[in-house]
């Protein structure tokens, strides 16, 4: 809690050293935050102590080093406030209890429900049990699906809608076809493009969803 426009260097240094000495007792994260802040403050102070070059009139354009810190601190404060708001929701929600879940996994036919972190945990458990498992090898991706996504989007921005088959024009190799298809799936998943088939006899058309348009069918005007 200090006025950043009048940085008391002695006080900060004192607290900095004090903080270092008490590191072990302190919550490390809190200490880390303080150290970072203190270091930044001292950095700013040192910048301000160096006389600015006397270039007539241009001084005003120069960024006040404190401004960046203010902005960073303000952004951080926004999320600190948001965290407090979440905490409020947490307290409210912790007053209500739902039915305990059945721990036995069901063998139901319904849609699968597994979270990625469950998969992580399963794998981490395995890795701990079987230390002899050799390190994994993951084949690097030869053709970037990301690149294909960008290409598809670019193309659909220029001409939309396009017949599904037209998206694969120029994709000569099998891997390129697959990458293009995966890219299309990903775009669909992210809601950036849509696919439509009015009846089973007709082909599928793919069109771009315009980010700006709301609720419309996304066709560019």
């Amino acid at each position: 809690e200090i006025d950043i426009y009048d940085i008391p260097i002695a006080k900060i240094t004192e607290e900095y050293l004090d903080c270092l000495s008490r590191m072990q007792e302190l919550d490390l994260e809190v200490a880390g935050e303080f150290l970072l802040l203190a270091a930044t403050l001292i950095h700013i102070k040192s910048k301000m102590l160096i006389p600015a070059e006397e270039t007539d009139g241009e001084q005003a354009d120069e960024e006040d080093p404190r401004k960046e810190l203010v902005e960073r601190l303000l952004e951080y404060k926004r999320f600190k406030d948001a965290a407090m708001t979440l905490e409020g929701f947490e307290s409210r929600q912790q007053l209500v209890y739902s039915r305990p879940t059945d721990p036995s996994p069901s063998t139901a036919e319904g849609p699968l429900e597994v979270s990625l972190s469950e998969l992580f945990r399963a794998f981490a458990a395995i890795m701990q049990r079987a230390a002899e498992v050799s390190p994994l090898e993951i084949t690097p991706e030869a053709i970037s699906v990301g690149e294909r996504m960008v290409a598809l989007l670019d193309r659909l921005t220029l001409e939309s809608p396009l017949p599904f088959s037209a998206l694969f024009d120029g994709a000569g190799t099998r891997t390129l076809l697959i990458a293009t298809f995966l890219a299309l799936l990903e775009l669909l998943r992210r809601g950036l493009v849509r696919a439509r088939q009015s009846n089973p006899e007709e082909g599928i058309t793919v069109y771009r969803v315009m980010e700006a348009s709301e609720g419309g069918d996304g066709r560019p005007a």
């Binding site: 006025d3 950043i4 426009y5 994260e29 880390g32 935050e33 970072l36 802040l37 005003a60 006040d64 404190r66 401004k67 203010v70 960073r72 601190l73 303000l74 952004e75 951080y76 404060k77 926004r78 999320f79 600190k80 406030d81 948001a82 965290a83 407090m84 708001t85 979440l86 905490e87 929701f89 947490e90 307290s91 409210r92 929600q93 912790q94 007053l95 209500v96 209890y97 739902s98 039915r99 879940t101 059945d102 979270s115 990625l116 972190s117 469950e118 992580f120 945990r121 970037s144 990301g146």
Partner: protein
Amino acid sequence: MDALPDSNPLAILEALLFVSEAPMPLERIEEVLEGHSKAEVARLLADWQERCRQEDRGVCLVEVAGGYRLVTKPELAPWVQRLRGSKPARLSKAALETLAIIAYKQPITKPEVETIRGVMIDGVLKTLVERDLIRVLGRKPEVGRPMLYGTSRAFLEYFGFKDLSELPTLKEIEALAPNGSRKEAADEAVDEARKPE
């Protein structure tokens, strides 16, 4: 689906909500109830909600994470806690801050969160993944292809949101924050500092 015997729809609704492990979307209720329009199901739910207000009822119907679920009434929490012998664990300040940043800036990578918080978040991230409050959304197409994180359905349930749009905006939060005047004060100070001497 086979035709099922006639039963009071309110009773069916209660049975369904009672056994459902996750919040039930309206569409799902409609599907299982069959023969009732969406509007009718909505009316049944409202009717149920009304009955739960009676003071001899211990549970109520809430809308959360895209569906409906039965929960105990908040004012009965002390009794439930006495039964359970404990209060539910709360998230740490660090976890809440990290979660807030992820919630508002998703999809976001670990280094990006760390830049805002000014500290490393490895431990916190573990906790959040372990509790399923965040999930991996993919990878950022940049050097190192870092993983992108976002909030999960469990996040909505944990905080009691119907969907992400129920998160108050940062603007609203700023307006509500007790020391919300800080920002203005800082802005003023910047202006002040800029004034020619």
